[in-house]
Subunit: 243 residues, 2 copies
DNA sequence: TTAAAAGCAAGAGCACTGCTCTCATTCTTG
DNA sequence: CAAGAATGAGAGCAGTGCTCTTGCTTTTAA
């Protein structure tokens, strides 16, 4: 399957990559709203109509860029997790390392960040192809907490009654190694992490937060506590896991 | 100043309002990306060029809509706060009431929500006119916590050293009635609130969270605890305020 | 009251967009 | 080698934001 069968197929994947590369350049320079198929074609020296042999519409091109962006930030998070584990860092330190890596990526690629964590551009339902890459960062966070649960246990309050069923479904579907009372706080922390980053990237913190770096570190450390990671500044509430 | 001086001025504000109304309709129907000046003009039976007498550019129209959206959600939050106070609700209940009201508004007006809390559309810097309305929700949250601090005190961990200067500036600039150790957690909770809402509105919770309502209530209750509100499920850590 | 000034609507037009055709060319395959 | 599929180029359609000029109406000042 991976063998390139002829010059035509080889050319096709090359041109496809060239289009995506040029589109990424324009995305980084001007943002998704101003990404133009004609401009991409112009820059590549081809007729605008020829692009449609590779991407059936502008939205399909954007979807491809979305997938790449998700993969990009996912890889960053996974790499940060790997090095933190290799350094035998505490679970709290791993959490902070991963979240800070995601923030750094967002600061370095604001338009790509906006593309995936801002308002959805094409329609309202994300294409099926994006949901896999979109969960990579989340799975890294799950891995950090799952490891912590196995070795140290988690400090978490008991589960609220009206959330029990949902929490059990969550832990079964998404994080099999995690007790139900850890699932909901972790999902919440996941979304709240991107609330912190979005407000910084989108300028909502303008004239509100100035020492953004330390503010972020402090906030994600507190977030670590809400997902039950020990060593996060104050003592345990009720320890679960470590079985 | 508020006297309408002639038929011309009266007509001007009427036409301006009509343009904004029609634009809001299109915004609600199709989203900001597909808002078209020509379509607005067409619907209003006027030449497209005539719109430019009222809004110098499409981005200026969008800015006007942004301000209106901020005011809309701000009013909702303030109203929820007022009724909760009138009902003599606990401070925790007020926090939950305000945050749930904001979420309800977002669910009812997803495109307007995306306009103000999604990727910034025009450029990267929000126009000066938006920063006032943009802070209304934040000020309501500040009011809730400030009231709680005055009557019950707050349960908050001590301030981290590297955050002290920033926290003191924050509380001085934004929340004079609040101790510094409350400022940073409150700003963080403010952004994290919109992280929760954004993930729900933008579809990131698809197949992840299903009981969205109870999940949100539980998450903002936990958020209330991180800003020091008492009665939020578990005991105090160190009480500040109440002086 | 009348003349000048200012505000306004309309139309034409420019440069641009996404996208769809047709037509010629090139590569692949039976 | 010939049939057929894939590709590229160009013209063209309908739409966009925005500008400019041309008349007209309302306001303001003499």
């Amino acid at each position: 399957m991976s063998t390139v069968r002829g010059a035509r197929e080889r050319a096709r994947i090359e041109v496809t990559a060239a289009i995506k590369d040029e589109a990424k350049k324009q995305l980084a320079a001007e943002g998704a709203a101003k990404l133009s198929l004609r401009a991409v074609a112009r820059e590549l020296g081809m007729a605008s109509s020829a692009i449609y042999r590779y991407f059936p519409s502008r939205d399909e091109l954007l979807t491809a860029l979305i997938v790449d962006a998700y993969d990009s930030v996912g890889e960053i998070a996974e790499a940060a997790h790997r090095t933190a584990c290799a350094d035998a860092a505490t679970h709290l330190a791993r959490w902070v390392a991963v979240t800070c890596a995601v923030r750094d990526w967002a600061l370095a690629h604001p338009h790509e960040y906006a593309l995936i964590y801002g308002s959805p551009v094409p329609g309202y339902t994300a294409p099926q192809a994006t949901i896999g890459p979109a969960s990579r960062v989340g799975f890294v966070l799950i891995a950090v907490v799952t490891d912590a649960c196995r070795t140290d246990g988690l400090a978490l309050p008991p589960l609220a009654d009206d959330l029990r069923a949902e929490a059990e479904r969550m832990s079964a579907d998404l994080a099999p190694g995690l007790p139900p009372e850890a699932a909901a706080p972790l999902i919440a922390a996941w979304s709240q992490l991107f609330g912190l980053i979005s407000f910084e990237i989108f300028g909502q913190f303008h004239r509100v937060v100035e020492a953004k770096e330390v503010f972020f570190r402090e906030a994600v450390t507190e977030l670590a506590r809400t997902v039950g990671l020990l060593g996060a500044r104050n003592g345990a509430r009720a320890t679960a896991g470590k079985g």
